[in-house]
Symmetry: none
Subunit: 248 residues, 2 copies
DNA sequence: ACAAATATTGCATAAACTTGCAATATTTGC
DNA sequence: GCAAATATTGCAAGTTTATGCAATATTTGT
């Protein structure tokens, strides 16, 4: 029995059951638990699965855990989110794209605010659920598991019939001349539709994303009305945007 | 059962119900309350949920620092869900209404099954998210906060363009002559549309709901193809249904 | 305020993990 | 092709972790 074979067996079990028990694998493969332990250790180091006491578990098992990624920039995101929330007023119709910054925004929306939120993001809808004064309209469609938002023709169709007061557009990258860009084509299509569906477009973005670029373009800088970062509005990094966008 | 699995289950329950009772988790997972207590303590320390007397609550729910006593017959629902899941086959298009029994069904869908699930239920979508082989189509619309499903014209419109293989219809009440009934008119409209949109209609229902009635009618008994309860198929309680419905 | 439910603490036991080591395989350099 | 170097595997001893139980304390609902 080659090591590679064992690895395949283990990964396969994980793929099917989302987990494996070390003892089970040892039994199936007729090798010592130590060997399996070492195999799992290797696969763990290769990021193929997650090693836990007693066995291993699929990496993707908790997709929702993307909330935990980038925990380091949570502080910045909270600062941004606080600024963003201050733009909201009673009675508005708000469009929220996906992303962790927008999730933070929806977390910070004060419970007394009476607004209507449209969103294609599952985590954001869940986040808004406990707030009694917020009407939530979920923009349906096929759910993209990575981003946990709906994509494709269906959400775009819904958006084409909507005119929201304000849109919080979570972005991957923003650049003074290249505009707003994203790496996933399907998501770009949805975000384009969101911009069309809103009177005002707000981009909340941590400063790391400023001046970077991705493969696909969502819109020019001109299409963005407000740029919110954790930085002070007259920070030199933001200089190139100042003429075209209101900085917050 | 790996500790990690238990953690995932607990977090999932918290996401869906916004709270968990320690005793329920112990029951579901077949472990001692002490273990669950330790699990919750760990998750609390990791800032994944908030530990409170009697269980845990979602972080987003901090204002309500209590846990409601809510008796839900989980054991029965699991039995029903297991029977329900056995009806599923690779390649099917499945329609899932809301409700805790359907939630339990979606929890038990084996991860290797390749199916497409349409649902207007937020908790069910979240529950299905980690399963890699399931395509999830969320039926969008305005979210009803009580039931956590979308209601109104929008979901009904989507359903009118769909023909699913099988529909799991969560119900409030079922009666041999009065048919399937519900207390919320808006939800009735959605469920009517779901029945039209499916080749086969399955009603998973705990036996308490059998022979009861509510204000609004969803459909006659004839429209239901299968009735799944926690009881044995030839239990006398089910006798009146036997002629018209397959009992499981 | 009291009874019932839940939490804490310490402890016991079993299972799982770590580490070092020795016996075999396998690969490498010449 | 062969010896040396390297990897792999199983084992054993000691350590850590996981889990349930029981006695006691705290919290909660009425």
């Amino acid at each position: 029995m080659l090591k590679e074979e064992r690895h395949q067996v283990i990964l396969n079990e994980v793929r099917i059951h989302n987990k494996v028990l070390l003892a089970d694998i040892a039994e199936i493969l007729k090798v010592s638990p130590d060997t399996v332990r070492r195999d799992i250790k290797e696969l763990h180091d290769d990021n193929k699965l997650k090693r836990v006491h007693g066995g291993a578990i699929s990496l993707g098992f908790n997709h929702y855990s993307y909330v935990n990624r980038e925990i380091y920039s949570l502080e910045k995101k909270s600062q941004i989110a606080e600024k963003a929330v201050s733009l909201l007023k009673d009675g508005q119709v708000v469009l929220l794209s996906g992303g962790t910054t927008n999730l933070e925004i929806s977390r910070l929306i004060p419970p007394h605010l009476k607004i209507t939120c449209f969103t294609p993001s599952l985590p954001i809808a869940v986040q808004l659920l406990p707030k009694p004064n917020i009407d939530i309209i979920f923009i349906g469609g096929k759910i993209n598991k990575d981003s946990q938002i709906t994509i494709g023709g269906s959400p775009i169709g819904v958006l084409s019939e909507l005119k929201a007061d304000i849109c919080f557009l979570g972005v991957n990258s923003i650049h003074p001349t290249d505009g707003v860009t994203e790496f996933d084509w399907e998501i770009v299509q949805v975000k384009k539709a969101m911009i069309k569906a809103s009177k005002k477009v707000v981009v909340p973005s941590i400063s790391e994303k400023i001046n970077s670029g991705q493969r696909y373009k969502i819109c020019d800088i001109d299409a963005v009305d407000y740029l919110i970062t954790e930085l002070d509005a007259n920070n030199p990094v933001l200089k190139p945007y100042g003429k075209k966008i209101d900085l917050i």
